[in-house]
């Protein structure tokens, strides 16, 4: 089963809903798609936030960690934050192992993450 990624912008927040099987084979396309989205708005010189949703992910190995880490490096350059939402126990276990939560914030849902951004005055149209 292929992995796919649906992206939507909520102002300055990029919401990336992953689905399917996230493995090494699928990671390249995900990276490319997300980097293209990020670069569309990174010229604006204001923080961009990235909210990952893992709700529809049916399989993930450590390649998923790499996808988050690589995107984190780009988001950090804009001064933004990466959020991880909707993880099942097992995806959470892999992410926990890697210590990814020391650089990305875990939130229950996309709505929670958007609320956190909004509260901090971090959502604006651009």
């Amino acid at each position: 089963m292929n992995a796919s990624c649906q992206t939507t912008w909520e102002g300055s927040c990029l919401v990336a809903s992953l689905s399917g099987e996230v493995d090494h084979h699928q990671a390249a396309a995900l990276r490319e798609q997300l980097d293209e989205e990020i670069s569309r708005k990174s010229a604006v010189k204001r923080p961009i936030h990235l909210i990952f949703s893992f709700e529809k992910v049916t399989f993930m190995d450590s390649s998923g960690i790499g996808v988050i880490m690589g995107r984190y490096n780009k988001i950090r350059e804009t001064g933004g934050t990466v959020f991880i939402t909707g993880c099942g126990d097992y995806v959470d276990r892999i992410l926990e192992m890697s210590g990814i939560y020391t650089i990305a914030r875990r939130e229950e849902s996309v709505a929670h993450a958007l609320y956190q951004c909004g509260k901090a005055g971090q959502i604006y149209e651009q």
């Binding site: 089963m1 099987e21 493995d23 090494h24 084979h25 990671a27 990276r31 399989f59 993930m60 190995d61 450590s62 390649s63 960690i65 790499g66 996808v67 880490m69 690589g70 490096n73 097992y90 892999i94 192992m97 890697s98 210590g99």
Partner: protein, 155 residues
């Protein structure tokens, strides 16, 4: 129970061997094969997920690091024993690992540090009961993972 007595009790129930090109498309195929093979032991959903994940890491390693130049074969061997022991072997004839101990450390990677987490061996280790890595530069790598499935399985 001492190990000698266990060996006598254990009987090979089924075995599967597959050889495929070391291309990333086959990572999903290998997972599907392992899941279908393990299904005969009636594993729990969690066990099945752990098997698929650990195997995915091993096969990805063979594809990415075993054959950095591209072409090569990966051999997969699955064995199921009467006591619920499930053994997965992933073998390549690639470049090998110069320092296995170091490669097994969490976060260590010789790959693109921006995109590879260095967590492959750590995931294999934590999702199985035993992980053996035999490797020599120029000779390839053999990864053996043993997982003890819940005992409900009867021959």
């Amino acid at each position: 129970m001492n190990s000698e007595c266990r060996v006598e009790e254990r009987k090979l129930c089924n075995r599967l061997e597959a050889v495929f090109p070391a291309i990333s498309q086959n990572e999903g195929l290998a997972r599907a094969v392992a899941a279908a093979f393990a299904a005969q032991a009636d594993p729990t959903v969690e066990e099945l997920t752990e098997i698929r994940t650990a195997l995915s890491e091993a096969v990805s390693n063979a594809v990415i690091y075993g054959y950095p130049q591209g072409e090569g074969q990966v051999r997969l061997e699955l064995s199921l024993y009467s006591d619920g022991r499930f053994v997965m072997v992933v073998e390549d004839q690639g470049v090998g690992i110069p320092d296995v101990e170091r490669a097994r450390e969490p976060l260590f990677t010789t790959g693109d540090a921006q995109e590879r987490s260095g967590m492959g061996f750590t995931v294999m280790e934590s999702f199985t009961d035993r992980l053996d890595v035999v490797s020599a530069p120029g000779k390839g790598t053999r990864i053996t993972m043993v997982k003890q499935l819940d005992q409900s399985y009867e021959l």
